[in-house]
């Protein structure tokens, strides 16, 4: 049997199950809070209050939203392809949840690794499951039987493919410095200096590509509401629409988590070991705030500008970064 987890360290199956439940539970508790946070913050950026009616400080707003979405009719256009139409949101949710597994929340403590799984292929796993999201977007958009959806899906697919490459190359520098693909090992390798210092170029490229991967402003082309109504989500309603939104936030968490682990020293921080997950969360939260801030500030790029940015600037830059890192790693 080919081991999927690190063979040096084996956990009992029930621990694995409990871990995955805890991670899943915590993230799903954070997601609604993130939506409130985003709406509150953007409200402040824009001289508004943001949601403040449901519950104290509007904190129960997402519950009301979900309740509303669940109560809506699961509408499907007459010319949609039913199976694929349903499959679209499912696949995206699946990819988002799978990617959560490899975010390291802490080191091995008391015989339990504070992460979902520590796969030796590490970030390759992240890219593999991340690519599944692209099927969700493409299938969902194409099977809707709407031209807006189709346009949005095509944009989304092209964008995800283009930026996946730069994203991978951006991480490669850090991987080479750590000498391992495993995220846990990469974090361990940052004991002396966080990789954001030597790998600042890689970090910036990763974040830029991360904005594109998560379809956030200024790269929210697939759902550019001024042009394509809601892009690939146009024909979706109810909780299917909600799950697309949910995944968007989940992807933000994943990208922030990967960036925090690869460049910001992961769980490292002052204080006793049990604070590790807190540190990780704090770093991730910082990156999430960046996502929100950018959304309130920047306009949207045009599709061709997005493509040329990806292929003509980010990709050569990332390659160069890899090359320079490789030379330095070999020399030192």
């Amino acid at each position: 049997m080919i081991p999927i987890a690190d063979t040096n360290f084996v956990e009992a199956t029930w621990i694995m199950i409990v871990k995955s439940l805890v991670i899943f539970g915590v993230i799903f508790a954070i997601l609604p809070l993130m939506t409130v946070l985003e709406r509150k913050l953007i409200g402040r950026f824009q001289h508004r209050y943001g949601p403040n009616r449901v519950g104290p400080f509007g904190i129960l707003q997402p519950l009301a939203d979900v309740g509303k979405l669940l109560g809506k009719e699961a509408f499907m256009p007459a010319n949609a392809i039913p199976t694929l139409f349903v499959l679209g949101p499912l696949l995206t949710v699946l990819s988002g949840v799978l990617a959560l597994a490899i975010i390291p929340w802490g080191d091995v403590q008391d015989g339990v690794g504070l992460y979902g799984i520590d796969v030796p292929i590490g970030i390759l796993y992240f890219f593999a499951v991340g690519s599944i999201a692209f099927y969700g977007v493409l299938l969902g958009g194409w099977s809707s039987g709407s031209k807006y959806s189709l346009l949005g899906a095509m944009r989304g697919a092209a964008q995800l493919i283009s930026y996946e490459v730069s994203m991978g190359l951006a991480l490669l520098g850090a991987v080479m410095m750590a000498g391992s693909l495993s995220l846990v090992d990469v974090v361990h390798a940052q004991g002396e200096v966080w990789f954001i210092v030597p790998q600042i170029v890689g970090f910036l490229i990763f974040m830029l590509a991360g904005f594109a991967e998560t379809n956030r402003t200024p790269f929210d082309m697939p759902e550019a509401d001024a042009e394509l109504v809601q892009g690939f989500m146009t024909e979706y309603g109810g909780m299917r629409f909600g799950s697309f939104l949910l995944v968007e936030y989940m992807e933000i968490i994943v990208v922030s988590g990967i960036a925090a682990a690869m460049f910001l020293g992961g769980w490292m921080g002052p204080g006793p070991g049990f604070l590790d997950p807190i540190w990780m969360l704090t770093k991730m939260l910082g990156l999430v705030l960046l996502f929100i801030w950018i959304r309130a500030t920047l306009p949207r790029l045009r599709y061709d500008q997005l493509m040329s940015l990806g292929w003509k600037i980010l990709l050569p830059l990332a390659t160069l970064n890899v090359l320079v890192t490789a030379v330095l790693v070999v020399l030192t």
């Binding site: 508004r48 001024a226 109504v229 920047l298 003509k312």
Partner: protein, 403 residues
């Protein structure tokens, strides 16, 4: 466009591509109302488009023929619902020319103050919604913050936030209240600062510059052929502003500049409108400084309601009041075309009088309606995203287009 991967805009594609006809609108977030565009897309590039209008046609021009002159005013200001004062001025001005009524100087200045405030208001709505089309969501709220102050000023002086029915044939219906001037001065002191903040947000934003520079260019000659006026024409480098060329209200006494662009792309359109806000602020300031004392409405009892205070004591006033309110005034046969510079261009009002107390025909030359013809030139052979930006920069108000 220079940095596009290939250049699909001009050269015919090497591979066979299919043209997809897509229907944008009438319900679409970016059409600023209920404009429907039938667009032929080749991939992301617009190859042909046809605007389909009429979804909010309410027959205002026809309804006006059934109302006495003074009752037409609230009708016409509901055409272009963002620049309501301009419709009032166009109609009242046309009727004043029909009945040969000179309005007192104070009314002229008051009208100018409100017209220019309305111009700022209109440009703010434009800036917010266009930036929203570009994806800069926060601009909308910043613009509407200032717009709110203008509407508060309108409310203070006229009792209404929009569609104020403030201008009357012969002047304005009421003098400005106590405290209005102070509030207005505060606003015009703040507004240039705010414009500077908008510039800081947008003008130094590389994404915004890339999206607007070099897109939607229509040559000046073509714009003139198409009858386009207003900021669109000025952005193409034609310094045509009817506030300067025609003598109406007290604009000849005002010191203001006409901002013009050079290239005529979407960026120039943005710059011109932003500069116009500042110039409008200057006009408001000068009008406020030079605001003459005196009556705010002409003292011609045949056309103007007598002051309320005279009604209990003067039989003659009461008769005039009764006649004006019930039948209205009769206008000798004739026809007048009166045009003013609205935020979107030449706003003309044609009034045909047949001797009765109701106009025989009221026609508005709405700038949005005419300018919309230039949209095809702006948007064909550009990306669909640029088409949306060009539409925003064209700034059509569908209430005015459809009337």
């Amino acid at each position: 466009m220079a940095d596009g991967l290939s250049s699909p805009l001009s050269a015919p594609p090497a591979v066979e591509t299919e043209v997809m006809t897509i229907n944008i609108g009438p319900h679409h977030p970016a059409t600023h109302g209920v404009l429907r565009l039938v667009v032929d897309l080749e991939g992301e590039v617009v190859r042909d488009l046809k605007p389909v209008i009429g979804y909010v046609h309410t027959g205002i021009e026809k309804s006006c023929e059934d109302k006495s002159y003074w009752k037409v005013i609230p009708f016409v200001e509901r055409m272009d619902y963002v620049s309501f004062f301009f419709q009032m001025e166009a109609f009242c001005g046309a009727v004043e020319r029909l009945v040969d009524l000179e309005i007192p100087p104070r009314a002229k200045y008051l009208r100018m103050i409100f017209l220019e405030l309305n111009r700022i208001h209109s440009h703010l709505v434009w800036l917010g919604t266009t930036a929203l089309d570009l994806g800069a969501i926060s601009m909308l709220w910043y613009c509407f913050r200032e717009r709110e102050r203008i509407l508060d000023l309108f409310e203070m002086a006229t009792g209404q936030r929009m569609h104020t029915r403030y201008f009357q044939v012969g002047g304005v219906i009421e003098d400005i209240p106590v405290g209005f001037e102070e509030k207005l001065r505060k606003f015009i002191a703040d507004m240039p600062v705010r414009v500077g903040q908008y510039e800081a947000l947008l003008d130094r934003n590389e994404v915004f510059l890339q999206r607007t520079k070099g897109t939607g260019i229509v040559p000046r000659e073509r714009l003139l052929e198409l009858g386009v006026t207003g900021p669109l024409l000025r952005a193409a480098g034609e310094p045509w502003d009817m506030r300067k060329t025609f003598d109406y209200l007290a604009y000849p006494e005002m010191d203001f500049k006409i901002p013009v662009g050079t290239v005529g792309d979407n960026y120039d359109r943005y710059r011109v409108r932003l500069a116009e806000i500042v110039e409008s602020v200057r006009i408001v300031e000068q009008s406020l400084d030079a605001l003459p004392e005196g009556p705010f409405i002409a003292d011609d009892r045949k056309y103007v309601l007598p002051p309320r205070s005279e009604l209990p004591t003067s039989m003659e006033s009461l008769i005039h009041h009764f006649k004006l309110v019930t039948e209205g005034y009769r206008v000798a046969p004739g026809e007048v075309y009166y045009a003013i510079e609205s935020p979107r261009g030449e706003l003309g009002c044609f009034v045909l009088a047949d001797g009765s107390a109701k106009p025989a025909r009221v026609h508005f030359r709405d700038p949005s309606f005419i300018n919309l013809q230039a949209f095809k030139d702006m948007a064909v052979d550009t990306y669909v995203a640029d088409m949306i930006v060009s539409l925003g920069m064209l700034d059509p108000i569908l209430g005015g287009v459809d009337r």
